[in-house]
């Protein structure tokens, strides 16, 4: 039984399909990386799991279960109880996710009070404990700080403290280190992975940094224009990509070009609402596209463990199959 399982999840805003029939699962104690460029639907899909898509967006799925509980069927109140306690989320920009009008302590205790209750004194001890856990020095005095008094790295630590306050079993981290410097990024990722191991949480790490995912994730999902184009064990996907898009992403990284050689850049941009191709969504940018690709949308090939959405998946040498 998986911790989180989604089957054919779609999110539409009016006529626009931000997330287009995606399926994946997260096991307990697993780190799942979701990579993709901006506009690929990685954030929207995770917001829909949290139930945070507001009224003009429509979420539909054949299956959306957390720990065998159907998230779509359960009453709003019960779902609200799950969000923030059993499923928690960390957002990209720590500076804007914290409320500037309240102290850090107040905001952490608010999360605790909503989900667990307890006396003021108990809440305070627990908040101090949490801040210690995320490596904030002098936690007692930090409780009375306002967000503007903290640096970016500190704020992200506070966000992590809030998200793990109720011992979640699934943690969704949406670009948790994008706004931070590399040395601070290393600190925050170490902290997240450390907590994830200790608590055996499922961790969904959403990022556009391929190298970061390659280092920490067990399995990885590559998204393009709202669809999952490839998924599988991280080491396999990055060493022998089967989808041309994954191959192109890896080739466009500066580190994959020797010296000052030109980078293999994928031409063009991600299709938007009005220029969605008929067949395969990558076909206008794909070097291997045939007429068949341009007219017929490909289906998923392989099982959930190693899947690719392409008519001619690449072989071990990186060439399309005939």
């Amino acid at each position: 039984m998986s911790l989180l399982q989604l089957d054919n999840l779609s999110v539409t805003f009016g006529n626009f399909r931000a997330v287009d029939n995606i399926s994946y699962k997260v096991e307990e104690g697993e780190v799942l990386g979701i990579v993709g460029e901006s506009g690929s639907g990685k954030s929207v899909s995770s917001l829909s799991i949290m139930g945070l898509i507001d009224f003009h967006g429509k979420v539909s799925a054949d299956q959306l279960t957390f720990d065998d509980q159907d998230l779509q069927a359960m009453p709003e109140k019960q779902r609200r109880k799950l969000t923030g306690s059993d499923i928690a989320m960390i957002f990209q920009d720590p500076m804007t996710s914290l409320n500037p009008c309240f102290t850090v302590g107040y905001q952490i205790m608010e999360a605790l009070k909503t989900h667990q209750g307890g006396s003021k004194k108990e809440l305070k001890t627990r908040a101090i404990e949490l801040l210690t856990q995320v490596g904030i020095p002098a936690p007692e005095s930090r409780l009375n700080n306002y967000p503007h008094q903290l640096s970016g790295g500190m704020s992200q630590r506070v966000m992590i403290a809030m998200s793990i306050a109720c011992d979640p079993r699934l943690l969704i981290a949406d670009e948790p280190t994008t706004a931070l410097d590399v040395t601070i990024q290393a600190q925050i990722i170490d902290l997240l992975i450390d907590l994830q191991r200790k608590k055996q949480m499922g961790l969904v790490l959403i990022t556009h940094d391929l190298a970061l995912v390659a280092e920490v994730a067990h399995r990885v999902i590559v998204m393009y224009a709202g669809q999952i184009v490839e998924s599988g064990p991280a080491s396999e996907v990055f060493s022998t990509p089967k989808h041309p898009y994954t191959q192109a992403l890896l080739a466009s990284l500066p580190e994959s070009a020797a010296g000052k050689a030109r980078l293999d850049a994928l031409p063009g941009v991600v299709p938007g609402q009005y220029d969605r191709p008929v067949g395969c969504l990558l076909s206008p940018r794909c070097p291997y596209a045939t007429d068949h690709c341009r007219n017929v949308a490909p289906m998923n090939q392989g099982d959930l463990d190693r899947q690719v959405k392409c008519h001619t998946p690449l072989d071990k040498e990186g060439r399309p199959a005939a």
Partner: protein
């Protein structure tokens, strides 16, 4: 135009930018040393990369080089002419030769102007070209950076991030500059678009013999594009050298930490991470001695009291212009980076 001659385009000597910050009515002003004594030589057709975390003064350096801000001290020479002692008129002329590209292409283009007007503005201000000549020039540059003729009449909001950065680059090229200061030009872009823009910048460098000052925090991009690299920490350069010296034989503990913290795609390239405790100290109240000592695992009493100077530490031929500011390197106490064992 030959690109092989080592013509010195830009020379900076001991550049400083100190800001005075009011502390209150009765307290004396505090001094923030945003940039504190930086020297470099930039040759024609070369790229100098400036690396460091936020708050280390790399953007301030870029603003000084383009004379958006006047340095409080130091010398800055373009083709041998001192930029800082010239008259206002002469300065304005020289300023055309050093252009800047900003980080965020969503903020650096005026949303109320068409692309044509944005590109022609530098010409309107600085040249006496006629309207037709200006348009011709704008279209020529647009073609160079991969924009189409019909884009001339469009507004910035109609473009994607990568295309906007192309527009910003085109604007920088309008006055035939010798030097382009690029302040994090690709950090707001997705990887595939980032590769397109980096390719474009390298093509333009080849074609026009441009020199770049490339400000970035992304070491993998820097390793790809730079000829020389300068690592900054709290307003000072801690290590300076060629790309090969810096990436193959890094010495300063801060450089080592930066390199080991950068995630690597291929497992062979991963190195044992050097954990840095804490964050960049406040520039209002910098630590005594070496600014890095609070986060450095090699720090001793000498590091805490005596400020290290940027100097040569090895006499051999390969290392002849590899400068490092560190007591521990001088005393041979540094362990090299180790490969990560899977």
């Amino acid at each position: 135009m030959s690109h092989t001659d080592n013509q010195l385009i830009l020379k900076a000597e001991n550049l400083k930018q100190h800001y005075h910050v009011k502390q209150g009515f009765f307290k004396p002003d505090a001094v923030v040393k945003a940039v504190d004594g930086i020297s470099f030589n930039l040759e024609k057709g070369k790229t100098l990369a400036v690396v460091g975390e936020s708050g280390c003064g790399k953007s301030t350096l870029g603003r000084m080089l383009t004379m958006i801000e006047t340095p409080t001290e130091g010398r800055l020479a373009h083709l041998g002419e001192d930029l800082l002692t010239l008259s206002k008129d002469a300065q304005a002329k020289l300023r055309q030769k050093i252009q800047i590209i900003f980080q965020n292409p969503y903020g650096s283009l005026n949303p109320r102007k068409k692309i044509g007007a944005i590109l022609e503005e530098p010409l309107v201000i600085n040249t006496k070209l006629s309207k037709a000549e200006r348009k011709e020039k704008a279209l020529a540059i647009m073609a160079k950076v991969g924009l189409k003729t019909e884009h001339y009449e469009r507004y910035p909001h109609m473009f994607s991030g990568g295309q906007r950065q192309r527009i910003a680059i085109a604007r920088g090229l309008m006055l035939d500059p010798n030097v382009i200061v690029a302040d994090e030009p690709v950090s707001a872009l997705d990887v595939s678009v980032q590769a397109q823009v980096l390719n474009l910048m390298m093509d333009l460098q080849q074609e026009f013999g441009l020199s770049y000052v490339f400000i970035s925090h992304d070491l993998s991009v820097v390793e790809h594009i730079a000829d020389d690299v300068m690592v900054m920490y709290l307003g000072k350069v801690v290590e300076q050298g060629s790309r090969e010296q810096l990436f193959n034989n890094p010495q300063h503990p801060y450089t080592l930490a930066l390199l080991s913290s950068t995630p690597q795609l291929s497992p062979e390239k991963r190195r044992v991470r050097i954990k840095l405790e804490g964050e960049l100290p406040s520039p209002l109240n910098p630590p005594s001695g070496c600014a890095f000592h609070g986060r450095c695992r090699y720090a001793n009493d000498r590091c805490r009291s005596e400020t290290p100077v940027l100097r040569l530490n090895h006499a051999n031929e390969q290392e002849k212009d590899h400068l490092i500011a560190c007591h521990a390197v001088e005393e041979n106490r540094i362990e090299p980076l180790k490969e990560q064992v899977a």
